[in-house]
């Protein structure tokens, strides 16, 4: 058990290194940069198709570290990303559709007791979850609050565990076998719950990738 103090001191030492995202950063496209322009144009072309239909959709803007909920091209809600990583970013080039929103524990009305039941709220939403899409894509949402040391420790343990699973898969899976792309996102606890609340089954998701 001698490693526990060193583990926590290491986590505390590394925390400032992980705060790499400027929350005020805005999407920016350098129109003189052909590669950036090509990527922005690809996403715009997809967005025009998606926004033409009466629906809300999500745009994950990785260069701007932002998740945007949009409808008809209008920004409805904005969530800053604390960290992200992806296994295979050249696969993230299409419109993905969410298979199922994160499960919610709903309260049942019992007429024999009282018609008034405690409603669900943001606090009932999960803070860490995995989303499956068609075509195949897995987005893992994780969160931690700066104020909660325990929450941060739990977040790093989950990160570490996912990495172990990935290594395990990489070792035991043949190099040529098709593996669905994965995108790991870390946001604040409130934002993870907020995103779980606003997602709907079949919701389209677009991803803008970094170029440089």
């Amino acid at each position: 058990m001698t490693f526990i103090p060193s583990l926590f001191s290491l986590i505390l030492t590394l925390i400032p290194m992980t705060s790499t995202v400027d929350p005020s950063s805005r999407p920016f496209v350098d129109v003189t940069d052909a590669a950036a322009l090509q990527e922005a144009t690809r996403v715009l072309a997809e967005e025009v198709k998606v926004a033409a239909r009466p629906q809300t959709y999500v745009l994950i803007d990785l260069p701007a570290n932002t998740i945007l909920l949009k409808g008809r091209g209008i920004e409805l809600h904005r969530i800053p990303i604390k960290h992200w990583s992806t296994s295979d970013q050249h696969e993230l080039v299409m419109t993905f559709r969410l298979k199922e929103r994160p499960p919610v524990a709903r309260r049942k009305i019992d007429p024999s007791i009282s018609p008034e039941q405690e409603p669900i709220s943001l606090a009932d939403m999960p803070t860490a979850y995995s989303l499956q899409f068609t075509p195949a894509l897995t987005i893992t949402l994780d969160s931690y609050g700066q104020a909660s040391l325990w929450g941060m420790a739990a977040h790093f343990v989950r990160q570490w565990w996912r990495l172990v699973i990935k290594w395990w898969r990489a070792i035991w899976t043949e190099a040529n076998s098709a593996v669905a792309p994965e995108l790991d996102l870390t946001v604040s606890v409130d934002d993870a719950q907020s995103l779980a609340w606003m997602l709907t089954d079949g919701m389209p998701v677009l991803i803008r990738r970094p170029i440089h």
Binding site: F3, S6, L7, L10, I11, L14, T18, T20, V31, T32, A34, A35, L37, T41, R42, L44, A45, E47, V48, A51, A52, P54, T56, N65, G71, R72, G73, I74, H77, H83, W84, S85, D88, Q89, H90, R106, R107, K108, I109, P111, S112, P115, Q117, P119, I120, S121, L122, D124, F156, Q159, W160, L163, V164, D184, T186, W197, M198, P210, I211, H212
Partner: protein
């Protein structure tokens, strides 16, 4: 041996954590093969710029030119926006998210959510009368009446109601103390003053974005 393991263990954990953080921070350099080819030809660049501006215009044309209604069901707020301007910010009540079993139908339930997505104002009513659906009686432990007249309840929806499909309305409420909470069966409740503003500003066809 045991001592050696105890010495190595923190180092191993540190290494794993460092690798985890390096991966999770997004700082790891992107796969170079993932980046699209980098054309340097000025003509190609101009062509790309032209397509980018054209698509930007197409997207802008999809945005509503008229005021639209935006509802945040998590925070229970209704906004009327016109382009970047907020014309109204009203405290609302939206769906409770609770469920109620349908009697006599196994595995079938009512889910009291406010629907999310994009909708349109389909109807504008003055002095609406609530026609109580089956669930309103069942939730109170009452028998569902056979006579339609027994379902009519005037005065509980306020002076106006704006329908946006499948029986969902933006309407008034007697329970103004519950504004700001998720307490409804899916409709969106407002106080009298805000309801009047929404009725005045919205037309049939006004977009309603709910998230």
């Amino acid at each position: 041996m045991k001592q050696a393991i105890q010495t190595l263990y923190p180092g191993l954990i540190s290494l794993v954590l460092l690798l985890t953080l390096a991966q999770s921070s997004g700082l790891s350099s992107p796969d170079a093969s993932a980046a699209p080819p980098k054309p340097t030809d000025p003509a190609t660049l101009r062509q790309l710029q032209g397509r980018y501006y054209s698509l930007s215009r197409q997207l802008a044309q999809l945005m509503p030119g008229q005021p639209y209604i935006l509802v945040d069901t998590a925070r229970n707020h209704l906004y009327i926006r016109h382009r970047d301007r907020v014309m109204l910010d009203a405290l609302a009540s939206t769906g409770s998210g609770t469920i109620l079993d349908k009697p006599g139908e196994a595995q079938s339930q009512w889910v009291f959510d406010t629907p999310r997505g994009e909708f349109f104002v389909q109807s504008k009513l003055t002095n609406p009368v609530w026609v109580k659906p089956d669930w309103a009686f069942i939730a109170e432990g009452l028998a569902v009446p056979k006579n339609q007249a027994e379902r009519m309840e005037p005065g509980v929806l306020g002076e106006y109601a704006l329908g946006f499909g499948k029986g969902y309305f933006i309407h008034g409420t007697l329970y103004t103390r519950l504004l700001g909470k998720n307490v409804t069966h899916g409709c969106i409740r407002l106080n009298d003053e805000d309801l009047k503003s929404v009725y005045r500003l919205a037309k049939v066809g006004t977009p309603i974005m709910i998230f």
